[in-house]
Symmetry: C2
Subunit: 160 residues, 2 copies
Amino acid sequence: MTTLSPQPLTAGAFAPFGEVLEAAGAFRLINEGLCRRHHDLAALDFGPDGRAGISVFEAVPRALPYDFTLVERHPEGSQAFLPLTQHPFLVIVAPDEAGAPGRPLAFITSGAQGINLRRGVWHGVLAPLHSPGLFAVVDRIGTTPNLEEYRYAEPFRVVA
Amino acid sequence: MTTLSPQPLTAGAFAPFGEVLEAAGAFRLINEGLCRRHHDLAALDFGPDGRAGISVFEAVPRALPYDFTLVERHPEGSQAFLPLTQHPFLVIVAPDEAGAPGRPLAFITSGAQGINLRRGVWHGVLAPLHSPGLFAVVDRIGTTPNLEEYRYAEPFRVVA
């Protein structure tokens, strides 16, 4: 079984897949100087027929080592995961290779990071590492199908 | 000085102002049964010329008693606050009375709740009660003015 060691999530390493959403870099001071606004961090894209929605996900916490075969992608829209806790979570993404996912990469968040997955990016299912596995999700609301799943022939194992 | 006692935030009490975003009520099971999706909880509204954006806010924590005179509203769009921590935060809103805010109400979140403020709802500035005061904010990105501020003649005090 192929093992993957999660890398710390950074904007640079994640750039091929989407954006890291965190209080880093430039900001505007608002509210009489008492709040920093890190402005408009995600390349949201809900396609011609979709609209933005906010949902709340509650996922069963996983543990390392974590084995998976399933990845998925959303052809019709971007998808942002915003943790409602300070717990790190696992981010699995894969490059597209002629319509199928290539070798996956694993990242682990700092505990103060969300992510936005670009439209169509292959990714693992939501994998919190602690309870409660609560996230706000900003993704495409629409009536047409927006889920493609892919199962690797062999599992990958994410190790600590 | 008028004092306000914060009520626990509930969907019913908050309904005149917007939505409570939390893992409550109906859900769809996704990800092979390992995740509950509480679907499309917020009435997002970014006006004819705006679009959705995700920003990250980091606000200085406040303490109770908390005195304020300033409230604001965004005429061009809804605004959702999603805490990136499990800390309760203070929510101050006020009904509109002929273009000016009436007597404010104070709510306190459970630690597992975000809010979406309807377009044009008068509200206090972001008031976390613990460090870090980190929130993801889903609001209107656009080029036209979208902030109206109002100062009450006398301060209100939110007590514990």
